[in-house]
Structures are given as structure tokens and as C-alpha cells.
């Protein structure tokens, strides 16, 4: 048996009412890429946070390099070479790459920072790891993928031997993902051990040697990747068979519902984000918008929803939306699943029942007084229909898993009378079981003759659901393809600007 870099057994961890880990275990061999899978709320992140010393476990044993550790804290973890690559980037935007990397452990020249030594150290690290970033650039100017590379450089600079990555691909485009895999493999060859949290089956299949599957805080299975299949992993995660590639019935697109012409929108820093965009969504159609994040998707959604001023015309069933407020747009027939669930879609401290009536207050109040009975009935109905768990309508939404939070949003939006649904990243951070459910609901909306605008950074999602696919690149639609003509590689080429603008159909 190879030596174990990490061995955790019987780990318990409780947060107030939630038992995040119950007797969870994890064994990671030295030098392997080990995937940690599970639905949202399965306890993966908690286990990894314990491993990184960010949180103490309530109970359990824990060995690093065969040595039992107790009272594990982040500095101790770092000394032992165990470090977390943060997913929400913790970088100082006004400093350069090199300055960020050495921050906290700066090479000094007398009392001053030795800038040259810092730059050289980062260059050396880039060379040995295969990560490519210019050490002299400002972090503010980096793309998301580059910022992630800086986070990895940071932990390498601190001499990390065990790297913990929590859903590192959530923010990356396909070429960036491929690049990340290259880097991880190279680090592995250099002797590093990597623990990777993911709920994307294809990723785990592609990169890991072994997989630990967690469900409800417990470790349910440890598998050799070479001897398993994506279907088996999905079953282990959810506890039943899952079908992610439902055949799409042929498209019966009807009359145009939403017409966008010459849409120009400015981004939050005043830069032009959309440069004259045209698109039409028909009844009974899902139009997918593919693109690397930051190419105008957010601005498009904001403009459609009425959260951002724009030039050009947006017509919903021949009604011009320009002068309509947000709530008037909702009344005109727009439903919206926002991309930022926590900031835009939900009030985390409100109960499930209260979140389900957001934007519908007129229906649930009489002469300014809330109708608690109607609110409770509405909640009970939607909780049952959308299988929201826990089923208690008075639980604050904060306590729900990502998948259930998204079901709350979806339940609220789809239960309006709407013509067009704007679905932004509808399955981001959502577990496999809930993804299947959400996809089924989007298809159902299409079958009912609604129009759906699907914006997603998951190409696979776009390809599974869409009837037509538009690729957004630098504020323009560079390709409009019927589903039959689209594939991951074709879309990838347009998304990165490698292919020239064309429009079909």
C-alpha cells in the first residue's frame, strides 16, 4: 500500500441545526489526484475546510503524512504543506501578480519589498508548474482563469504539497479547463497530491485517479476512476439512477415572443458591453446563449430584466419594454431566474414561504396586509410540486442546499403567468439530482409554448437544452447556430474568438 498523504476517519461536524459531516472519512494517497464528489449539502466542502484547518472537526481522527494531528489550524496546515486554492478569489486587485503571490511571505531587501526577487520567484514557479501568468500584470486586469492561476501560484509559493481545490472549473471556459488539467497533471508529476471537489461527472472521469463519493455527510463509496463509469458515479451520489441526456422532442417553434433589436448596453465600469445585439425568441423555443463569462451575458440579462439602462429596443409580444419598470415587465410576461442567486434571487434570511411570494406581493396582500393563510397555502403547494427540502415553509432559505435554493427560485418564477423566461446559470452550484429536475422544468416550459432564454457557462447544458444557440463574444453575437450544427468544439472556437462571425438560421 502506498503511503497516505491524508487519512481522515469518523469526522463529525455540526453547524447549528445542520449535521454537515457524520463519521465521514477520506483517504488520499500520496501523489494522486483524488476527486471528492457529492450533491450539494453532502458535506464535501466542510470536510475539505476541516482538512485545510479552516474549521475544527467536532470528532474524528485525522492523520497527515501518517502523523496524527489535533487542533489543526491554517498555519499548521500550511507548514505541513496542505493548502486550499480559494474559489472566491482572495486577491488584491490593485497589486501585481508577483506582489499577490508573495503577500504575507515577502522577500525583503532591508525593509523594502525585493520586487525583483518576487518576480523571479513567480517566474520560476510558472516554469516548474506550467502555469502561465505575467508576474508584472495587475490582478485587476486578469481574466477569471488567470486569477485562478495566481491563486494556485500562491499556494505553491508557500510550498504546498497537498492542494485542495473546491470546484475550480465553475468559472472557467472549456480551453481554460483543459489548461487547468494540464497544470494539475504537471503538478502531480512533480510529486504534489491534489484533492478536487467537483460535481461534474465528466471532469472527475477525465482527471482523477480515485473518487470518494459523499452523501448526507457520510462517505458512501471510494472508487477507482479507471474502473467506474459516469453513470455509476451519478448513482452513488444520488442514490438512484439519473438520466442527464433526455432526448429532446423536435422543436415546434412558434411565433416570435421576444424581439431584441440593436441593443446597446454599458457595463458596470462604463465600458461598452453589448454593441448592437439582435435576437428573437420564439414560442416553444429554448435559445441558448453560450460564451465565456464577461462577454456581455450579465449585461444582456440585466437589460432584459430592467435592471440596467440600455439603447435599442426590447419587445415582448409586440409591447415595447423600454419604459416599463421591473414589476411592470413581470406583469407583461417576463419571468427571471437571476444568475446571482444569493444577491438577486433570494432573501436568504427570509423563509421559504416568504421567498416564494417575492414579486407577487399584490396577489398575497389585501389592503396592505399580508394574507398569511394564502401565503402558507401557496408555499405548501409549491414545496410539494417542486420537491423542495426541507419541507418546512418557515425555514430560512439560507439553511437550504444550493439545489433546493434554486428550486425555490424556479418554483416562484415558473408559477407566474409568463411568456418568456430568462434563465441565467439555472444549475450553477446545483447537484446532479436537482439539475435533472431543473432541466425537466425548463423543457416543460418550452412544451407549454413559452420562450426560454438560457444563459449558461456549461456548454453541456446549452447543448442538451437549446433549440438554437447564440455565441456571445465581446458584446456581439458571433454565431447563431441551430442545435444540429453545434458541438462543444464548434462553440468553443466561437467563444474564444478563434472562429469568425457567422450566422445561420
Amino acid at each position: 500500500m502506498t503511503t497516505l498523504a491524508i487519512q481522515m476517519t469518523g469526522i463529525d461536524k455540526r453547524f447549528a441545526a445542520v449535521q454537515a459531516n457524520r463519521g465521514a472519512s477520506l483517504e488520499v494517497a500520496k501523489g494522486e489526484i483524488h476527486a471528492l464528489m457529492g450533491e450539494n449539502g453532502a458535506g464535501k466542502s466542510t470536510l475539505v475546510k476541516i482538512l485545510a484547518g479552516l474549521q475544527p472537526p467536532d470528532a474524528g481522527q485525522f492523520f497527515v503524512d501518517g502523523r496524527e494531528v489535533t487542533g489543526w489550524t491554517t498555519p499548521q496546515a500550511l507548514t505541513a504543506g496542505v493548502a486550499m486554492v480559494h474559489q472566491h478569489f482572495m486577491l488584491v486587485p490593485t497589486l501585481t501578480v508577483a506582489e499577490n503571490v508573495v503577500l504575507g511571505r515577502e522577500p525583503t531587501h532591508g525593509l523594502r519589498l525585493d520586487r525583483q526577487a518576487a518576480v523571479q520567484a513567480v517566474r520560476d514557479l510558472c516554469q516548474s508548474s506550467g502555469l502561465q501568468v505575467d508576474p508584472n500584470r495587475l490582478v485587476a486586469d486578469l481574466s477569471v482563469g488567470e486569477a485562478q492561476r495566481v491563486e494556485i501560484l500562491k499556494v505553491l509559493y508557500r510550498g504546498a504539497q497537498v492542494l485542495l481545490l473546491d470546484e475550480p472549473t465553475a468559472v472557467l471556459s472549456p480551453p481554460e479547463v483543459a489548461e487547468l488539467w494540464g497544470v494539475l497533471r504537471r503538478l502531480q508529476q512533480g510529486g504534489a497530491t491534489i484533492v478536487l471537489i467537483s460535481h461534474k461527472l465528466d471532469e472527475v472521469m477525465a482527471i482523477s485517479q480515485r473518487v470518494t463519493v459523499m452523501r448526507q455527510g457520510q462517505t458512501v463509496q471510494v472508487l477507482d476512476t479507471a474502473q467506474t463509469t459516469a453513470a455509476e458515479l451519478a448513482r452513488a451520489m444520488v442514490g438512484r439512477d439519473v438520466d442527464l441526456d433526455v432526448q429532446r422532442p423536435e422543436n415546434q417553434a412558434g411565433k416570435p415572443l421576444l424581439r431584441v433589436t440593436q441593443l446597446q448596453v454599458q457595463g458596470s465600469r462604463g465600458q461598452p458591453a453589448l454593441l448592437g445585439l439582435d435576437l428573437t425568441i420564439h414560442a416553444g423555443e429554448i435559445l441558448g446563449i453560450a460564451g465565456v463569462e464577461g462577454n456581455g451575458q450579465s449585461e444582456l440579462l440585466d437589460a432584459l430584466a430592467g435592471l440596467r439602462p440600455y439603447q435599442g429596443s426590447i419587445k415582448l409580444a409586440d409591447q415595447e419594454l423600454a419604459t416599463l419598470s421591473l414589476s411592470q415587465r413581470t406583469q407583461a410576461g417576463l419571468a427571471h431566474v437571476p444568475e446571482d442567486r444569493h444577491q438577486r434571487a433570494l432573501i436568504l434570511d427570509y423563509s421559504v414561504a416568504d421567498n416564494l411570494i417575492l414579486g407577487k406581493l399584490a396577489e398575497f396582500s389585501r389592503r396592505g396586509v399580508l394574507d398569511q393563510r394564502a401565503i402558507a397555502a401557496h408555499a405548501a403547494e409549491l414545496i410539494a410540486e417542486y420537491d423542495i427540502r426541507p419541507t418546512d415553509p418557515q425555514v430560512p432559505v439560507r439553511g437550504l442546499s444550493g439545489g433546493n435554493q434554486q428550486k425555490v427560485v424556479l418554483a416562484r418564477e415558473l408559477s407566474r403567468s409568463f411568456k418568456v423566461l430568462l434563465a441565467a446559470q439555472p444549475t450553477r452550484g446545483v447537484d446532479v439530482g436537482a439539475i435533472e429536475f431543473i432541466h425537466a422544468r425548463l423543457r416543460q416550459a418550452r412544451a407549454q409554448g413559452k420562450g426560454v432564454l438560457l444563459v449558461s457557462s456549461e456548454l453541456r447544458e446549452i447543448l442538451t437544452l437549446s433549440d438554437r444557440i447564440a455565441v456571445l463574444y465581446r458584446g456581439r453575437i458571433v454565431a447563431m447556430l441551430p442545435r444540429a450544427q453545434a458541438s462543444e468544439s464548434v462553440l468553443g472556437a466561437y467563444m474564444t474568438g478563434a472562429a469568425q462571425a457567422v450566422t445561420h438560421g
Binding site: 446571482d340 444569493h342 396582500s365 396592505g368
Partner: protein, 350 residues
């Protein structure tokens, strides 16, 4: 579930009070006195006799109004530091209305007019920061602080230059619409300033509770306070909610002015607010922005401030002010919403 929620709600302020009491013990010891004797004197001088109780109730009435004012604004995500100025303006409005009313006006109409004047003046003062915030994004803390300076200076000028009775800094006595003291019906309270406006304070707390937790407006107001983005996305007009919350907050603080003007002196006197508006911030925080909590914490702070006079025999009465400051500091550290608000303003988000 509900039980843990209650514990989470009550725990921080109780711990804060405990910490402050222990720190107070140490201070008293450092001064060379016996803490037990001082506390005994404090309780004796407040809840130990009816005069003390009456004085506590009188002070709690004003604090209840200003505490509610701060609490309802905080529920909308606004830090109303301007309750002091709103309180003073409310008292002035009532006093001025009282001067203009004919002495023969029936009590009810006179009282209602002064009531409206107090609420409107408080609202008017609070409206300015509300509109500035909604329209231009001006930070309400700065705007409310500035309004305090302007309002207090303006009132001082108006009274000192035009409206005072000679040799004093107060206006002439109001002839009709004054609120009787508790001692009229309950002679045990004789000599204390407690008056029937305490009933109004409790009604105000009930009303704030109903507005916050049972009305559509309260639902929207709390939504804006908790998650601006999601509230906006749900079609709630954030700006108008802010303005309405400030109008309500100003009206509540303004009504607090009635306690001094109609319930105690019968005239407006410059500087009567005396920090009760600022103390309202502490009252709201200790009361966790809940109307019931505000009523209880108003009683606590009123006890401390009345107790300051009682313990004067053993330690300087400033000791109580130090103690109040300790409570506020301890609460600021212990109460989660204060911490997150501070963290947010550091990060530059609303």
C-alpha cells in the same frame, strides 16, 4: 427551530449586558467602593420606590420612541443617527403648534394637532437624508449626522432669538392639549414626570410590530434591508422604500418629543433632547430591532440613566454613563447585524 431562533436573538444582548456589568464591577472596585452597595443603591433608587419607577417610565417613554425610530430604519438597512435632531424637531413642532392654538380649543383637537405637528416635523427632518440616499446614494449616516447639527442649531436660534420667554431658553406654556401625569390617577407616582404618553409609546411599538411583520410594506422594507439586490429584482422600489422608512422613523422620533413638551413641562425648551436620540441607537441595537425588544431595552437604559442620579452618593454619576457606553460597545461586538453592517461598509457595499 423556533426555540434556537429565540436563543440566537436573545443571547448576544444578554451576554453584552453581563460583560458590561462585570466591567462595571471592576470600575467600581477601582474607585474603592463596594459594587454590591452601588448596585443596591441603583436598584433602590429606580425600582425601589414609586417616584423612581415613575422617573424610569418617563425616561423610557422617550427612549422607546427614538429606539423604534432607529429600529425601523435599520430594518430597511438604514442607520438613522439622526433621531436626536428628529426628536428635537418633533418637540419643537408640538411646542410651536401649542403656542399658535387658541387656549379655548377642546383638548382632543389640540392634542391631535400637536401630535401631527410633532410627527410631521420629525418626518421632515428625516426625509432629507432619505431622499438624498434614494436619489443620489448619499450615505445616510453622514446625512443624518449633518441634519442633527443643522436642526439643533436652527432650533436654538429660533428659540433664543424669537420665541423664548425672557430670561429662559424655553417657549411660553401651552394652554390646551397637555397630557396628564400618571399621578393624577395613581397618586403613588406623585412628583414623577411619568405621564400617559407611555401608553402611546406602547401603542407605537405594537403598530411598528404590525407594520414590520404583518403588512406588505413591512415585508418590502425588511426585504430591502436584508438583500437590496433581491428586493429590487422582485420589483420593490428600493428608493421609495428607503424614503418611506425614513419618514416613519422621523415621525416616531418626533413623537418622542411630546413626552417632554406635553407630558412634562408644557413648553418647548432648547436642548431638551439631551442625547435621548443618540441613546435610541443603543436601545434599538440591544433590542435587536424588534419592537418588543426595544420596549424592554428602553426600560433598561432608562433604569441606568435614572440610577445614575441615585448612586451619586457613592460614585460619580458619570459612572453610569461609562456603564452605558460599555453596554453599547459590548452589544456592538456581540450583535451579528452590527458586525456584518460594519464589514459591509468596509467593503464599500450598501
Amino acid at each position: 427551530m423556533a426555540r434556537t431562533a429565540w436563543i440566537e436573538m436573545l443571547f448576544p444582548p444578554l451576554v453584552a449586558l453581563l460583560v458590561a456589568l462585570v466591567a462595571g464591577d471592576l470600575l467600581i472596585l477601582a474607585y474603592g467602593q463596594n459594587p454590591a452597595a452601588v448596585w443596591h443603591l441603583l436598584v433602590d433608587g429606580t425600582w425601589g420606590n414609586f417616584y423612581g419607577i415613575g422617573q424610569v417610565l418617563y425616561k423610557a417613554t422617550t427612549l422607546c420612541f427614538t429606539g423604534l425610530s432607529v429600529a425601523i430604519a435599520l430594518r430597511a438597512g438604514l442607520f438613522n443617527v439622526g433621531a436626536e435632531g428628529q426628536l428635537a424637531a418633533g418637540g419643537f413642532g408640538a411646542g410651536l403648534a401649542g403656542l399658535l392654538l387658541p387656549a379655548t380649543m377642546p383638548w382632543f383637537f389640540a392634542f391631535m394637532l400637536m401630535f401631527l405637528a410633532a410627527a410631521l416635523c420629525g418626518s421632515a427632518v428625516a426625509a432629507v437624508p432619505g431622499v438624498l440616499k434614494a436619489r443620489f446614494g448619499a450615505h445616510e449616516v453622514i446625512a443624518t449626522i449633518m441634519m442633527n447639527f443643522m436642526v439643533l442649531a436652527l432650533l436654538n436660534y429660533l428659540v433664543a432669538a424669537h420665541l423664548h420667554t425672557p430670561e429662559t431658553l424655553h417657549t411660553q406654556s401651552i394652554a390646551s392639549g397637555l397630557v396628564p401625569r400618571l399621578s393624577v390617577l395613581l397618586p403613588v407616582f406623585h412628583g414623577s414626570a411619568a405621564n400617559w404618553l407611555i401608553v402611546l409609546a406602547i401603542l407605537a411599538a405594537l403598530l411598528v410590530g404590525v407594520v414590520l411583520f404583518a403588512s406588505r410594506f413591512g415585508f418590502e422594507l425588511r426585504a430591502v434591508g436584508l438583500q437590496v439586490g433581491a428586493a429590487e429584482n422582485a420589483g420593490i422600489s428600493v428608493g421609495s422604500t428607503w424614503i418611506r422608512a425614513m419618514l416613519l422613523a422621523g415621525a416616531l422620533a418626533g413623537l418622542g418629543g411630546l413626552n417632554f413638551v406635553l407630558g412634562y413641562k408644557g413648553f418647548y425648551e432648547d436642548g431638551f433632547a439631551g442625547g435621548a436620540g443618540f441613546l435610541g441607537i443603543a436601545v434599538a441595537l440591544v433590542g435587536r430591532n424588534h419592537p418588543l425588544g426595544v420596549v424592554i431595552s428602553a426600560l433598561c437604559f432608562a433604569t441606568l440613566s435614572q440610577g445614575g442620579l441615585a448612586i451619586h452618593a457613592l460614585v460619580p454619576k458619570q459612572m453610569v454613563e461609562v456603564l452605558q457606553a460599555l453596554v453599547i460597545l459590548a452589544v456592538a461586538m456581540a450583535v451579528p447585524e452590527v458586525r456584518t453592517r460594519l464589514a459591509r461598509s468596509v467593503r464599500g457595499k450598501p
